[in-house]
């Protein structure tokens, strides 16, 4: 409790890092729920990697003299955010065009985007004349130095994302669940898909900039996968995932602070442990229930049914 009081103290040096972890912990799972139910989980791995590549590209542009050099951290973050958003949204657009053309497997396309983004990110970093200083920290998501401006911008972006997800939950669920019927009711499915994936892209871009691709991916997918074990409705699913993400973000920060560990990987490791326990516990509970009732097992993200 004393550590909790300490990290939430307004005088705590890394208080903004705590708040930003908390924001990411609460909001990433809300968009991750859609990646899970639309069975595009791998997109949650590829897009943060693409976002990182966009950040590396934005910095490389500075090195090549294509854009003015930023002289302060706020300017650097603005450039990084620009690169991240442009690359993420462009990747979503490209992948959706390829999906509509119906060529190849979605896993193949997403996997290709993942490896190419990873490779190009490293190449751009390696040849950046400005060196790797600071950039690697950004990509690793050290969550150490978060300015008030960063925090406010992240809060505004996430506020917009949560509001849109809340207001248009009916439309997002409908076009995700039964696209064909949505078309027959004259719903503009392309518009709703674009809006949903723009929100996902925005969330990923902002998260990667603060915590890096690994942690962003962890918060996008692990809390929804844990919540799915217990939820009965889509609303419960989203809220439980968000609460798990938020609580884990705080718990991870506390553990990392006490043990002097990097925050992001601690959060993901903690989520992994939670997932293992929830999955094992659920399996045990279900096997006992099924044995008692003789019912058939239901579908899950890991068991298509």
């Amino acid at each position: 409790m004393s550590v909790l009081r300490e990290i939430f103290d307004p005088q705590f040096l890394s208080r903004n890092s705590v708040y930003i972890s908390l924001l990411i912990g609460f909001v990433c799972p809300l968009v991750g729920v859609y990646l899970v139910v639309r069975r595009v989980v791998f997109l949650g791995v590829a897009l943060p990697q693409v976002s990182s590549c966009g950040i590396a590209f934005a910095f490389a542009m500075q090195g090549w003299g294509w854009i003015p050099h930023a002289h302060d951290s706020a300017g650097e973050r603005a450039i990084a955010l620009g690169g991240s958003i442009v690359f993420t949204l462009a990747a979503i657009l490209l992948l959706s065009i390829m999906e509509r053309s119906g060529r190849g497997l979605i896993e193949g396309r997403t996997g290709t985007a993942y490896v190419l983004a990873g490779a190009w990110g490293i190449l751009l970093l390696a040849q950046n004349p400005l060196g790797e200083h600071g950039l690697l920290d950004l990509l690793r998501g050290q969550i150490i130095a978060v300015s008030d401006t960063d925090l406010v911008l992240t809060a505004i972006t996430f506020g917009f994302v949560v509001l849109a997800l809340f207001l248009f939950q009916k439309e997002f669920l409908f076009v995700s669940f039964d696209r064909e019927m949505a078309i027959t009711l004259k719903k503009r499915v392309i518009v709703w898909d674009t809006l949903l994936f723009t929100l996902i892209g925005l969330t990923i871009s902002v998260s990667v900039l603060s915590v890096g691709p690994l942690v962003a991916f962890g918060f996008l997918l692990l809390p929804p996968l844990i919540a799915y074990q217990f939820a009965q409705t889509m609303r419960q699913f989203a809220i439980t995932a968000s609460v798990i993400g938020g609580v884990t973000a705080v718990a991870g920060f506390v553990i990392a602070y006490r043990r002097d560990l990097p925050v992001g990987p601690t959060d993901v490791a903690l989520l992994g442990i939670l997932y293992a326990f929830s999955f094992g516990g659920r399996k045990l509970f279900r096997s006992r229930t099924l044995a008692a009732t003789g019912a058939k097992p239901q579908a899950s993200p890991t068991n298509p049914g």
Binding site: R39, L167, D178, E180, T184, K186, T233, M234, A299
Partner: protein, 239 residues
């Protein structure tokens, strides 16, 4: 297009991508009639239905609707139940409420009247007690009743069903067909039911559209599905 036609297809070609499944399709569906769209597996029934619904664009030709208001009628669509992913945690009540999405604008929530209407539709299809159950946990017949309820929740002028009795045992098939017959009789709904089951179409439908080896035959059930006529059609195909 004559006044009693609700739907008319002229020279329509349907298919996926560049693959043509049916071409030069001319047919009409009469207002207030129960029409069966009959054909073997792979004959292009579902592709034709999806083109009529606007899910697939026609590759050629014209599709015209004339609803009561003169324009396109509200369509109630009952898809094949396997098409819906069981990963979604959707209750039957939420499922039926989706039918009201066409009337409730973006950013607005379902009001009490829409919720009452959804319950009414569940009652109409004998699925009221399933309201709180998760859709993915239902049996085939129960799912079909809920899907019909959802289609009714759109307040349709034209109900279109894709293989509503496929993979369902005989007793449940009969109850689903009975439900559709009753709905047609009570509400004077125009119905187009895709099926590969000749007996089901014969039992319910008044008119039939038969797809066989790329050819389309249309007529009244008691004309087109007479034993001699069916044999003639099939023999013709064998020749």
């Amino acid at each position: 297009m004559t006044d009693d036609l609700l739907l008319s297809l002229q020279g329509v070609a349907v298919g996926y991508g560049r693959h043509v499944v049916l071409q030069n399709v001319d047919l009409g569906v009469r207002r207030g009639r129960f029409t069966g769209l009959l054909g073997a597996n792979g004959s292009g029934k579902s592709t034709l239905l999806k083109t009529i619904l606007g899910i697939l664009p026609p590759m050629a030709g014209r599709i015209e609707f004339r609803g009561a208001s003169g324009g396109q009628p509200v369509l109630g669509y009952v898809p094949q139940r396997e098409a819906l992913d069981s990963i979604f945690l959707v209750s039957c009540f939420e499922m039926v409420l989706m039918g009201a999405c066409g009337r409730v604008g973006p950013g607005r929530f379902f009001n009490q009247a829409e919720k009452d209407w959804a319950r009414h539709c569940l009652r109409e299809t004998g699925a009221e007690e399933l309201a709180r159950k998760r859709f993915s946990e239902l049996s085939g017949g129960q799912k079909q009743r809920v899907l019909v309820a959802r289609a009714l929740a759109t307040k349709p002028e034209f109900l279109l069903l894709d293989e509503p009795t496929a993979g369902i045992d005989t007793t449940v098939t009969q109850s689903i067909l009975e439900l559709l017959r009753n709905l047609h009789a009570r509400q004077q709904l125009s119905i187009l039911m895709v099926s590969h089951d000749l007996r089901a179409v014969r039992r319910c439908a008044q008119d039939v559209i038969w797809l066989h080896q790329g050819k389309v035959s249309q007529g009244a059930v008691n004309e087109l599905l007479r034993r001699e006529q069916v044999e003639a059609l099939l023999d013709l195909a064998l020749e």
